[in-house]
Every structure is written in C-alpha cells, then in structure tokens.
Amino acid sequence: MTTLDAPRPVSALVGAEPRSVPDRLRRLVRPFAGYLFVFPALGVLVVFYYVPALLLFVISFFHYHLGGAGSSFAGLDNFRVLFAQPLFWKSLVVTGYYVLVMVPATLVISLALAMLVRDAARHSKRKRGGLSQALIFLPHVTPLVATSLVWVYILNPQYGVMNYVLRAFVSNPPGWLESTGYSMPSIEIYSLWHSVGFYMVLFLAGLASIPDRLLEAARVEGVRGFAAFRRVVFPLLTPSVYLVTVLATVNTMQAFSQIYTLTGGAHGEAGGPAYSTTTDALLIYQTAFFYNHFSLAATMSLMLFVLLVLLTVVQRWGFSKLVFYR
C-alpha cells in the first residue's frame, strides 16, 4: 500500500542537519531579543513613570490618604473642591504669566544669540564660535538650586549687585524678589539666564542646516540683512522654532526648583510674596507635601497635564500651517 506523500517543506529537502542546543536556544530567543534589550530602560520607565502617572490619574478620583488606608472613592469631589479654590485659579494666572513671558522671550533671545554667535563665528579667523557658544551655554549646566541661591544675593534689593548697578541709572530700583510686582520678572530673568543657552544651541543646529548658498542667492537678488532673515532664514528655521516653542512651554509650565529656591523655599516661604509666584507646580507641591492633601495635588497635576496636552496640540496645529515646505 502506497500513500501519496504529503508535500515536504523545502527546508527538509535542502537537507535538515540536526541543530545544536545553543543554536535552538538562539532561535527561541531571537524574536524576543529586542524586548530583552529595552527591558531595563523600559522597566525603570514603567515602575517610576507610567505606574505613578496612572496612580495619579486614579488618585484624583479618590479621597486618598498616604499609604492608602482609609481611602474612598470620591467621584468628582476633588475637582469640585479644586475649582472652588481661588488659589488654584490664581496659580493658573501666575503660571500663564510666566509661560506667556518666558516662551516668546526664550524664542527671541535664544534666536538672537544664535544669530550673533553664528555671525561672530563667520567673521572670526578660525570660523568657529566655540568660546562664545560655550559661555552662553554654561549657565545651563549649573545646578538650578545652587545658582538660584546665588541669584537671591544678586537680586537682593539692598546689597545685591543688580541694584548696585541699577542705582547708577535710577534712583529707586525695584525690590525684585521681595516685591509682588517684580517677583515674577526676577524669576523670569533667572530662568532665561539659565535656559537660553540651551535653546540657542538648538537654534544653532537649525541655522547650520540652512545652506549658505541660499543666503548668497538672496544676496544676489538684493535681499540682505533683516529682509533675508525674514524671507529666507526664518521660514527655513520654523522646525527649530516649533521645537523650541514646545520645549520651552513644557519646561516653563513645569518649572519648580528655581521658583522654589528663589522665593525662599528654604524657609518655607516659597511662592511669595503674597502668592505672586505660586505657579501650578509650586501649588501642587505645597498641597501634597505641606498640607498632605494628595488627592487634590493629584487632581491639579492631572489638570496641568491636560493643559499641556491641549497646548501642545494647539501648537502642533499652529505650526503645521507654518512649517509648510516639509
């Protein structure tokens, strides 16, 4: 009796040698190798980032006590309490003020610095702006808390360097961190000092990707200086402008250390005077760790997160109209 053989797989015909054990192990592991490689980093991310984020989301719908004991479902209670808090709204205004000043100022100053550094590099003998670039970038690598403390002295109304210089020009210089009107600008000045170098480097990278040829072509057409910037450089730089806008928005909305330190967090005075510097981030911190009201802090964090997402979406949409040539 003969049965028709089922068609055999090609590999079997070609000659299947017996495979060694390590070989089989390798075959077994190969599909998962990629996951194994990312696992350490991913594990850390999940444990310390995604899980807490998820917990935060959950907590904002609970009356939560540290450790979990005695917690109960709260529905939208936390949101109701939060929205009834004038301080919450005030902190939004303060944050908004901070962001609305910081983002445009960051864009203008870091772009201007980038242009200056590039021009300096172009006219320097060795065609590099390494030194000026490093000097402007330097503040960014200093620790926020340490340099903030230094700036507390610089901005001291009585014996600070800032006012020492200003007194040469005006009779009564501002009270800086000690006045409600100038406390936020003080923080903005510090933050710009600290971060502008970083954004400048992003712009320098963007500028470097614009071929000199294009500027020469513009010059041949009689378009130079600011006109060339407006008609050639800026349009081609919009990807960098977008990147800097988004990064600056996210970073300023979450700014904490320098505000905490500059406004006297060391003596429990952060956010003052008179709540003039109490941003969202500061209020969240105080609510959680000062008043031990974790669920309310979680709710605020959630609101901040939603706000950030919304802003980023809006910015994306806005720039999709601007970054048209991609």
Binding site: L214, E216, A217, A218, R219, V220, G222, L236
Partner: protein
C-alpha cells in the same frame, strides 16, 4: 563689457587665483573650464561680488565695480545645484528679487514673461522646488537669475547635477536660450565638452592660472600649454617627454632608437628634452606620411567606443592613447606599434609647459594664438 584685471585670491597659503585677466565682449558666451578645485567658482564669485579679490579689479562696461553688491553690478547668477528656496513656489523663487519692488500685477507679468521664455507652464510655477524635476529646477534658477534683466549672467556648473541625457538636452536648451536672449554669459564648468560645444570663447584654468583663452576650436587645435593639451578633447592629448639632440646645427627630436627625427624643435641651446603632445586620432597603426615615426608601445587596455576604440598604451612608461578602428583594435596583442606624423606633433617646454612654436611654418598662427601667461 566685462573686464577682469589681474584677479588674485589666496586662502591662507593656497593660491586660489593668480593674475587672471580677460575681456569678455557684449553678448558673448564665455566659459571657464578646469578641473575641480582650480578656482572656477572663486573667480565667478568674485565677478558676482560675493567675494572680494585680494588684488585686481572687475569692471563692467568700463566701470570698476570693486566693493559693489551683486545687484548693483547688474549680474544674475545660477548657482551650482541651483540654490532654490525650498519654502517658496517656483513662481515666488523667480520673482524673489523683485518682490516688494514692483507692483504685484507688474511682478506677476514679469514672472509670466520669464516663464514663457523658459517654457515653464503656469502649473509648474505653483510647485515647490522639490516637486520639480532637475531640468525644471534649472529653468527656475535661470528664471530667477534673468528676471532682473542682468547685464551679465553667471552660471556655476548648472548642469553638474543632471544625468547624462538630461545634461545633453539642457546644454542645447541653454545654448538656444543664449542665442535668443543674447545675454552676456560667464559659464563655469569642469566638463570641457560643455565648454567646447557651447562657448564663443573659453578660458582653461589650472591651479588658479589661466592656461589659455580663445575660441574652443583654437584651443583644441593649438593648445597653449601642456595642461590645456591634456585637458581639452575627449580624450585629451597624450603628452610625454622626449629627448632632444642638436643635429645639423638644429635641435631634433630623438626617437627611442636614438634616430634623429626630422622634427625641428625651437628650443634654447642646452635643452635636453621637450614635451610632445599628440591627439589620439593622430596616432595610427600604420605610417601615414614620409616623416612618420613609430612608437613601440605595450597595450594596457582597450576601450571600445563603437566605431572606434581607444587603445590605452604605455610608451617608455608614459601613458599614450590612440583612437583606432574598432576592428583593428580587436586584433591587437600585448604590443603595438603606433605611428605618428611629425606634422601632428605639439611641442611644449618641459619646465613651463608653454607651447613651443614648432617650426613648421605656423609661427604666424602662434602669434595669432591667444596664449595668456599666468
């Protein structure tokens, strides 16, 4: 019309250009040709006003334009790889320089006029450079350079990024365009065939020195230097040194067998050798005249080219190229005897590479030849 005088430019210790002088006539199509790095772009940029020379002057219509901006000089420029603005449409690229300087309607009319001249249709004007083909981009770049009606049009290797068939087509398009518009054109290329086929006159440049200025056919027939001889022609001349001996009171070339050859070499007493140049077409497999001499060569490679084949051979260690009939080339073994006629020889001084009047009655031609010293 456009006059260059003693243009010199150095970058650090590198001499990019050295004493370039030439007068370009109204309506002329003038090419600057030379190998990569010889200073072509540098020269063009100096004419454009994008760079200043260390020494020398550029004059346009008799006016020294040193220190003038490109627009003030009235030049238009097509850049290597075009340098179109990627964020603007083709139309906006063409009108870039006039935007805001002309009323909108007038500008649109001018752009349309240029587009028609360059056979760019309206739909293409709405596209961005990346949506255009190489040939279309080139026409847009040309349009941008032409819309201000420049007195001099400068082009830096405008065809170098095109593939061979497109290059061929655009070459004839450019030439046709020049014949229609008659704009004085300074054209930079590293491809001597382009220069030969398009120019009224050309300058051969090497290491920042002008080797020769003249009509393409003159440069081809009577290269002024050994470099020009090697560079012009496809392929160029084979040039190699040969010994010279004083015989019958005159200098004679010596062939390999030590026989004086009836070629009179007009060189100073005491000269031991001379550079000999010969076109590949003039090297044959059999003698063609009374005064032919033979070179015993070893064959390196044979490069079929259809009707003809190029035989790359070595003669006493020097590379020699001969263009012979393909059928004959197929019969060749490892050795070949190449014949050349004394009348086809070009002679150059060993040290300077300058052409030597070859004593065969074309001293007059030598005088008319437009050799330009560096």
């Amino acid at each position: 019309m456009l006059q260059l005088d003693g243009i010199t430019k150095t970058y650090g210790h590198d001499v990019a250009l050295s004493g370039i002088g030439v007068m370009i006539e109204e309506g002329e199509f003038f090419s600057i040709v030379g190998p990569s790095g010889c200073g072509k772009s540098t020269l063009l940029r100096i004419v454009a006003g994008l760079d200043e020379p260390d020494d020398g002057t550029v004059s346009i219509d008799g006016v020294d334009v040193s220190g003038w901006e490109p627009v003030e000089r009235g030049i238009g420029m097509v850049f290597q790889n075009y340098a179109l603005f990627p964020h603007l449409t083709a139309g906006a690229n063409i009108g870039f320089g006039l935007k805001g300087r002309l009323p909108k309607e007038e500008l649109r009319r001018r752009v349309a006029e240029i587009a028609e001249l360059l056979e760019l249709d309206a739909a293409m004007l709405e596209r961005r450079p990346r949506q255009l083909s190489g040939g279309q981009r080139q026409r847009v770049a040309l349009g941008r350079a032409l819309i201000r009606r420049p007195r001099v049009l400068l082009m830096d290797e405008p065809l170098s990024s095109a593939d061979a068939p497109l290059r061929e087509r655009m070459r004839s398009e450019l030439k046709g365009f020049h014949q229609r518009a008659g704009t004085t054109t300074l054209y930079v290329t590293h491809d001597q065939r382009e220069a030969m086929s398009m120019s009224d006159r050309m300058m051969v440049l090497d290491h920042g020195r002008a080797q020769q200025v003249g009509r393409p056919i003159d440069v081809y027939r009577r290269p002024a230097t050994a470099f020009a001889a090697r560079f012009v022609g496809s392929p160029g001349m084979s040039v190699w040194p040969m010994p010279v001996r004083a015989a019958d009171g005159r200098h004679r070339l010596v062939t390999v067998d030590g026989n004086p050859w009836p070629v009179q070499v007009p060189c100073p007493a005491g000269t031991e050798g001379v550079l000999v140049g010969v076109r590949p077409e003039r090297l044959g497999l059999r003698p063609c005249s009374e005064d032919s001499a033979v070179l015993h060569c070893t064959v390196d490679t044979i490069e079929p080219q259809g009707e003809q084949a190029l035989v790359h051979a070595s003669y006493c260690g020097n590379a020699v190229v001969a263009a012979v009939e393909a059928a004959a080339a197929e019969q060749l073994g490892a050795e070949v005897d190449l014949w050349l006629s004394a009348g086809d020889l070009h002679l150059f001084a060993v040290d300077s590479g300058q052409r030597l009047a070859d004593g065969r009655g074309d001293a007059e031609a030598a005088r008319a030849g437009s050799a330009v010293g560096g």
